[in-house]
């Protein structure tokens, strides 16, 4: 240990600032990055153990780097470089054969057969849906996409109304567009038409909608004091009745005759369309049920709590495939004789119940994350249970769980592939059906098709998971106050 030679005083004042220098070259830039990210773990030779570790790291890095790079290169080669892109002569499968098999491609060729996928593209997207009526699917899809984008992009106005539209009008609209008018039984018909007073035509429908909207406008203006006192006093009831009329209009719309839209049975639906219908309906329908179940599970009433817990744990404990089997095979048995559920609807019911259980757990997590003070505060100002739920608790809980909901949706989206096992033609089912076409049989047929399907799923799921991460970051930033 050194000893101090002088006994100068401690006092010191810096007279000139120390120079502000750039960091040494080995620390930054490419060299620095290389060092930190690769070499650092491989160059520690301070002790025999560390040296062995460094050598192993170097070995693994080279091995995995090699494997990774070769796989990526072979994938790119298969999908893009060596792939066959067009079939001008209409040779179909021979376009993807090598000379050994009778085609024109060089021996040892291995690449994707994209003309095959192109030929089957419509089938993959729409299934056996009537070719002339594809515009109906496209219109439904475009409206849905626009509405969803409107809902998600922050600064746009009227998002609340778009949300309501998506949850109420849009489902009815899609049913009418995709399927056509529903066939009512005689009892249903007499109820809908109020005993025959209102004929089920588009004009009547318009009339009902106008009445409903009129009532709501009346209520709005009334509550702002622009009309008579009596109207203002009863504005809430008028608005309620407006909602009732609109709901009636929606149901009426399902049975209205005269759209000139041909009925297209769900057995003729298929491909990506079915995947989206099942996934989206599943999630949207399961959300209200899931919220109720979550509230029930947290309830202080033992009956509600036990029933909800058993329900949730039951659906979460069995594989989706057994649920789908149960739905497709047992549901017809559970309903009164004569009530015929079509195949798609049975699968939707199964998916909805299954997904509601997972949704319930996600919402429950969100409710648990809410500070107890919120419950106490809202009851302190006199809100009832349902009011505080609706106005204070659930809005906060649901924003907390949006990432969880998106993740459940991603899972559901992937799970829709299971409907192909019970006979519904989803994207995967359509792909498999396309593979059975002997006119396109070639050694690369299945590789090309599965690659394409995998790519579609990947794009959807990866995109949604990125969105979920984005939402999570945004929410945690805003919560950090």
């Amino acid at each position: 240990m050194a000893k101090k030679t002088t006994s100068s005083s401690i006092a010191y004042v810096r007279t000139e600032p120390a120079p502000l220098l750039p960091p040494p070259a080995s620390q930054t830039g490419l060299l620095g990055w290389l060092h930190k990210n690769i070499l650092a773990s491989m160059t520690d030779f301070s002790s025999p153990v560390a040296a062995v570790k460094s050598l192993l790291m170097a070995f693994f890095t080279v091995l995995i780097g090699y494997v990774g790079v070769t796989q990526i290169i072979s994938l790119v080669d298969f999908a893009f470089i060596s792939a066959v892109w067009s079939d001008p002569e209409g040779l179909k499968r021979e376009a993807c054969w090598t000379v050994d098999q009778g085609g024109s491609l060089p021996s040892g060729w291995h690449g994707a057969c994209w003309p095959f996928v192109k030929a089957k593209f419509k089938f993959l997207m729409y299934g056996p849906y009537d070719m002339d009526q594809l515009w109906r699917v496209n219109v439904t899809g475009i409206i849905g996409l626009v509405a969803l984008a409107w809902l998600l992009i922050e600064p746009l106005p009227l998002r609340r109304y778009v949300g309501i539209f998506l949850l109420t009008v849009y489902p009815v609209l899609s049913i009418i567009l995709l399927y056509g008018r529903l066939d009512p039984s005689s009892t249903t018909l007499s109820v809908i038409t109020l005993g025959g007073i209102l004929p089920p035509t588009p004009t009547t429908l318009m009339g009902i909608v106008v009445v409903g909207l009129g009532l709501m406008t009346l209520a709005r203006l009334g509550s702002r004091g622009m009309l008579s006192r009596t109207i203002e006093d009863h504005a809430r009831q008028i608005e309620m009745s407006g909602w009732v009329v609109i709901a009636y209009a929606l149901i009426f719309a399902l049975f209205t005759d005269g759209y000139n839209l041909e009925r297209i049975d769900t057995n003729d639906w298929g491909g990506l369309m079915i995947t989206l219908v099942v996934a989206i309906t599943g999630i949207v329908a399961s959300l209200p049920l899931g919220i109720l179940l979550a509230l029930g599970r947290r309830s202080t009433m033992p009956a509600a709590r036990i029933i909800c817990t058993v329900f949730i744990e039951f659906w979460r404990g069995v594989p989706l495939i057994t649920v789908l089997f149960m739905a497709s095979v047992m549901l017809p048995l559970f309903l009164p004789e004569g009530v015929n559920f079509d195949n798609l609807l049975r699968a939707l019911v199964g998916v909805m119940l299954f997904s509601a259980a997972y949704m319930a757990e996600v919402v429950r997590g969100g409710l648990q994350a809410i500070d107890k003070g919120q419950f106490e505060g809202s009851s302190a100002v006199g809100l009832t249970y349902w009011q505080s739920m609706r106005l204070v608790i659930l809005p906060q809980a649901l924003t907390h769980v949006i990432p969880g909901i998106v993740n459940t949706f991603i899972g559901l989206f992937k799970d829709t592939t299971l409907v192909s096992i019970i006979g519904l033609f989803d994207l995967l089912g359509a792909g498999q059906s396309a593979l059975a076409d002997a006119a396109w049989a070639s050694p690369v047929q299945s590789h090309s098709m599965y690659l394409f399907i995998a790519a579609i799923f990947f794009v959807f799921c990866f995109g949604m998971s990125r969105y979920s991460i984005y939402m999570e970051n945004k929410l945690s930033r805003s919560r950090r106050h």
Partner: protein, 262 residues
Amino acid sequence: MSKDEQSGVDRSRMQVSDEIVVSMNSVNKWFGHFHVLRDINLEVQKGERIVVCGPSGSGKSTLIRCLNRLEEHQQGDIHVHGIELNRDLKNIEEIRREVGMVFQHFNLFPHLTIMENCTLAPIWVRKMPKKEAEEIAMTYLERVKIPEQAYKYPGQLSGGQQQRVAIARALCMQPQLMLFDEPTSALDPEMIKEVLDTMVSLAEDGMTMICVTHEMGFARKVANRVIFMDEGQIIEQNEPEEFFNNPKSDRTQLFLSQILNH
């Protein structure tokens, strides 16, 4: 009454010897492109009680974290107890055995009892038998005045108690030098005193310590040198009386006016 009798501090064992414990020469450090430590030159003798203060972002925590290699300096050299602080793992480990550190957020091990927290390092680093380690731990827990908590878990203690355990845990390795990184900044006001009192009694026992803190009362009581840092440089240093009453640099004056007058 003398000033010492007023403040109640026993200065009989606070001797500064000639032995140099820490020497930093032209130390420079960067975080990426940000030059966080600029030309640091510092010599610490055995028995010194140094307080480092300065605005946030001035590099004070980084400075002491370089001393036990929690941060790595890129230029210049650092010697602790004559051992050079470089890439050599053996040196680093030897230095860490002789230097104890107390953190702003305590960093106690939540899954171990207080006793286990304190005996972990002596058992696994100094290879002490369990009984001996527990006896030493008990002595230090009594020093910090919480022997009755020995078999509780950190989650059951208050902030002030946890920090005192952290001090005892560092002392169990019987270091020659103690580093304190804003030890009271995360505590509720009523618990600050108990921790500062512990640190004062440590100083009274002659421990060499470097403290990064905003507690100027503590500096006045116990420090023999106050260092002011700003923008990664040591701007001024002096004995506490001179430093607080007669700051020489503008920046020191500005800083002191901000923290002493509210």
